[in-house]
Amino acid sequence: MKFTIAVHGAPYGSFANERALKFCQACVASGHEIVRVFFYHEAVLSGLNSTVPPQDEIDVTQAWADFADTHQTELAVCIANGIKRGVLSDTEQARYDKPSPTLAQPFELVGLGQLIDAMASSDRYVEFPA
């Protein structure tokens, strides 16, 4: 089956990312396809390239990057929710004349249409609240 996954909770503030990662790992292990992971609300901060997690704790951004690398999964950060919270691609950093880009690889800033588009081609939508 095809899944769209939405993450709503902040990294380090909430535990939404940790739960969503475990779900996604079980999902692909069972042979299902994740069409897109969409980061919304405070979860856009999971795509920030400057986080320094405490020693012995999970690095949420790196864990998502590793997952995406292994399974060719698209990590989509809502652009409207992202730029207001300070998550900027090279393009947005230049457009708004901010000091530096802050989006981690391989996250992408995309419009809300990409959430709806993923849902339209998925069998299931699972949301991970804060």
Binding site: H41, A80, L112, I116, Y125
Partner: protein, 118 residues
Amino acid sequence: MKKMLVIFSTPPYQNSHTVEMLEAAMVGAVFDFQVSLLFRDQGVWCLQNEQNAVSLGRRTVGKVLQAMPAYDVSAIYACAPSVNAAHLDPSRLKPLPQLLEHSAQAILLAEQHFVLSA
């Protein structure tokens, strides 16, 4: 046509999620999803008339909501027991919602392809 329901359970200025989820509802409608909104529990305060968030420097939820029909989000529901518990006069809510009892909400949920929660 895919059916999408967005549920609001928090008062309009508890956080930014209410406005952000209304944006998701609008985009869903633009992409031809059949979009409904359900306001339950403290979320019914989103329908209170004459909100004004200018002094906060933020968008007014009531105004964003009133733009919904223009985006083809026309099915707006409110939980009847929640409206009663808040002592709100349903005839003064804006936009005017269809009131649903719990059992009707269960049926509404069952009809959806996708349910989002703010």
